[in-house]
């Protein structure tokens, strides 16, 4: 694969993860379990959407016919999205969202830490900002895991089953395509195997603090590296892209 093609795909994955997570988190706006968390989840959504803008804007440069971040967000179809399956899963109850946040933000903190060393200056610049945000997101999620895990029997059970249900979507984070291996050689992308080791340890510590045992090996879902998604992404895109599809070129 040509280097630019590999880089484009890598950037789309970064941008799509942020965009789809941001969209899901924004669904909490006005529906949070309490005012403070409503604001927190909306802030998390905002950070993600800003990051999506930065990565998709850069990805757009690698198209023969340059695309804006908005073009990429609103005009691609489901099979052209490369976000993690976990990101597109419905928000569920508050504990379910927190479990998603725990897994994803733990990964992102490590990913962006590694990407601050990327030989690609633009990626490194975005990562320098994103790592601080991801670190904060992780601390928010970890605090809530402990609070719910050590809370009532109901909160313990709800978070516990969310964490074990979502475990089946975690190993997909660390998949590397041939293009990713090529970018690793060039010092642009990190080694996901390294990240996986640290991630497992980081997440396990939260499990222990919150009074849980980390799930063992189980069936793992996969497909997003090929643009194959769960049934949920199509519905999400229908809603997110509705305005631009019905009124092409609409702007404000």
């Amino acid at each position: 694969m040509e280097k630019n093609e590999a880089l484009k795909k890598f950037l789309l994955r970064l941008g799509d993860n942020a965009l789809i997570q941001g969209h899901r988190l924004s669904e909490w706006c006005s529906r949070g379990p309490m005012l403070e968390e409503d604001i927190a989840l909306s802030n998390l959504a905002l950070d993600n959407i800003g990051r999506a803008q930065a990565f998709l804007d850069y990805a757009g440069h690698f198209y023969s016919n340059p695309q804006s971040a908005d073009d990429l967000a609103f005009k691609r179809s489901e099979r052209q999205y490369y976000n993690f399956l976990m990101a597109e899963l419905p928000v569920g109850h508050f504990g379910y969202t927190i479990a998603k946040q725990l897994y994803i933000s733990a990964y992102e903190e490590l990913l962006f830490e590694a990407l601050t060393q990327s030989t690609d200056d633009t990626i490194a610049a975005i990562a320098h900002k994103a790592v601080k945000e991801a670190r904060y997101h992780f601390s928010h999620a970890a605090d809530w895991c402990v609070r719910l895990g050590l809370g009532t029997a109901e909160s313990h059970d709800k978070l516990g089953s969310a964490m074990s249900d979502l475990w089946a979507y975690t190993q997909e984070f660390f998949e590397m395509t041939d293009g990713d291996l090529q970018l690793l050689q060039l010092g642009i992308a990190p080694d996901q195997n390294q990240i996986k080791k640290v991630w497992t340890d980081k997440v396990n510590k939260v499990f222990m603090r919150a009074g849980y045992v980390m799930p063992g090996e189980c069936h793992q879902y996969s497909g997003s590296q090929q643009g194959v998604h769960t049934e949920y992404l199509g519905h999400l895109l229908c809603e997110m892209q509705y305005l631009q599809r019905s009124h092409p070129q609409a702007a404000w």
């Binding site: 802030n43 900002k129 994103a130």
Partner: protein
């Protein structure tokens, strides 16, 4: 009208120091470290700014304010560039900026080295009464850069500018 500032980047910087941060109007975009650079080439002025948070929603308003102000001072063309590197940090705030935040009711970042952020929420002084008997209400507040705290002495809630 062409004013004296039109040929002098330093004077333009000082002029732009009038523009308040849209979300914390008590400090300017220069004091916040958002304003990074000014270049002048004939009638074109190029201003470089950097976002606090990646998604800072105030960037559009800041760029509009810069353009309007410079156009009223004789520049026919104003270009506002956004850069991400070096990444903005609260370490750039001067002591006088921190004092302005405090007098506005916002506790400034407690640490210089942002790596220590994990322990930072333990001892934040209340901007109203100065007590350090304070606690966190929420890690997130009214804007991306703030969290919400409570003073156990004077019983007032207050914003804390997160170390970033």
């Amino acid at each position: 009208m062409v004013s004296i500032v039109a040929s002098n980047p330093k004077a333009v910087m000082e002029l732009l120091d009038q523009i308040p941060d849209p979300e914390i109007p008590v400090v300017s975009i220069r004091e916040m470290g958002i304003l990074r650079d000014v270049q002048i080439n004939e009638k074109t002025c190029t201003v470089t700014i950097t976002p606090t948070y990646t998604a800072c929603p105030a960037m559009g308003a800041i760029a509009d304010d810069i353009k309007a102000l410079l156009k009223s001072h004789g520049f026919t063309k104003v270009v506002v560039n956004t850069v991400l590197s070096p990444a903005w940090t609260t370490d750039w705030m001067s002591e006088s900026t921190r004092q302005k935040l405090r007098s506005f009711g916002i506790a400034p970042p407690a640490h210089k080295a942002c790596d220590q952020w994990t322990t930072e929420l333990t001892r934040i002084n209340c901007p109203r009464c100065g007590s350090n008997n304070t606690s966190v209400i929420s890690k997130f507040g009214s804007t991306a850069c703030k969290s919400l705290m409570r003073c156990e002495e004077c019983k007032e809630p207050f914003d804390y500018f997160k170390c970033h």
